[in-house]
């Protein structure tokens, strides 16, 4: 298992949302602005990496029968830490994401990686797995947020970027974003639950299309090679 193939797996071929199809709830619920999407993505990335490392550290000493209970306790611990830190230092994000921060506990991505990967792999590999799977998750959240925000409200980078007095990043979620077109013409329905389901559906469909195409290409190339031989 080398880093490069792990990178590709996390981001593309085994992307948690688009390919494994887990961790959907938060993906659809909070991706209404770039600020929320990025905040949620990074929170999951940090929690996932920490949990991966800890689970892989203790993988030899925990009894088989209660491993799931132990994973849950470790995950809940890290989630609470991140939740408390966000409440204390980035309250705007904590308010925007609300109950979805503590709900990371039951996000299947984290327990799924603990069970499927960290139990069997070294600390180093688990660390990179956490980073890359987390990045894959963040990328999907970003893509969804950008699409929904642009088509729904006509802005880019809502909450994160403020251009009223020159370009600057706002860490308190107050920026209005870059206005691409007037909000009146936005399809507001995309920022509502309907848009969440639809955007994710289309995104997964695109991914399946791309994966199938590349698989076909490979098949074709292999066949050609066979013929040549």
């Amino acid at each position: 298992m080398n880093i490069k193939s792990q990178f590709k797996e996390g981001l593309i071929t085994n992307n948690p949302v688009l390919v494994q199809q887990i961790g959907m709830c938060a993906t659809m619920a909070i991706t209404t602005s770039l600020f929320n999407g990025l905040g949620m993505g990074l929170s999951v990335l940090i929690i996932l990496t920490c949990c991966n490392v800890v689970v892989s550290l203790i993988r030899r000493i925990i009894p088989e029968e209660i491993r799931l209970a132990i994973f849950v306790v470790v995950i809940a611990g890290f989630v609470t830490i991140v939740d408390l830190l966000l409440q204390a230092f980035i309250p705007a994000l904590s308010e925007a994401l609300g109950v979805f921060i503590p709900l990371i506990v039951v996000n299947c991505i984290i327990i799924g990686r603990a069970e499927a990967f960290c139990q069997k792999n070294t600390v180093g590999a688990s660390f990179f797995d956490g980073i890359f799977q987390g990045l894959g998750y963040t990328l999907v959240l970003l893509a969804m947020s950008i699409v929904r925000e642009l088509l729904g409200k006509g802005t880019f980078g809502g909450g994160l970027i403020d251009v009223s007095e020159g370009f600057r990043f706002t860490m308190d979620g107050s920026g209005a974003g870059i206005k691409i077109f007037s909000g009146e013409y936005g399809a507001k329905v995309l920022t509502m639950p309907f848009g969440g389901f639809l955007t994710l559906g289309v995104l997964i469909a695109l991914m399946q299309y791309a994966l199938k195409k590349s698989a076909k290409k490979k098949e074709l190339a292999a066949k050609e090679k066979e013929v040549e031989e």
């Binding site: 306790v73 609470t80 309907f194 389901f197 559906g201 289309v202 469909a205 695109l206 399946q208």
Partner: protein, 194 residues
Amino acid sequence: MLFNIISISLGAILINNFIFSQFLGCCPFLGCSNKTDTAFGMGVAVIFVIGMASAICWLIDTYILVPLGLAFLETLAFILIIAALVQLVEMFLKKSVPALYSALGIYLPLITTNCAVLGVVLLNVQNHYNFIESVVYGITGGIGFLLAIVLFASVRERVEFSEYPECFEGFPICLVSAALVALAFMGFSGMKVF
């Protein structure tokens, strides 16, 4: 009081339906909705667990965690309670109500990771609901989940027989149909109790 309960119930079942407006419990919703029977079983199991979880977690939070100043352990305590509760319910049903167990059995373990259950319990704390309101919110939220999953399962059974682009096979077409059902549920927003 009665007014409050009616407005909480109506909100949880229709206006703020867990799945179609709050995105709580999407994983089992998408995973267990290919047949109406399965969907119904899952829905009933969720109502059962969610009702008990909201009652027990409310008691533990109000009488143990908050008085001891341990409110920061809420998430950890709640998830452990839910996991233990699901185990207990499973063992109890297996021994004393085998008929119900064979109907719900396979769905029970899945419920532990259903974010609707943990979500309700956390929302009860956030909204400062009292004991009765918490239980009502839990049970009616479960009913909303049941309604959504059964409705959607019937939609999905029909989608099976229709034609759609190849790349939409599987999850994407599900999500797109769910989007349309969510659009229908949007019609409930702005509904009044009077």
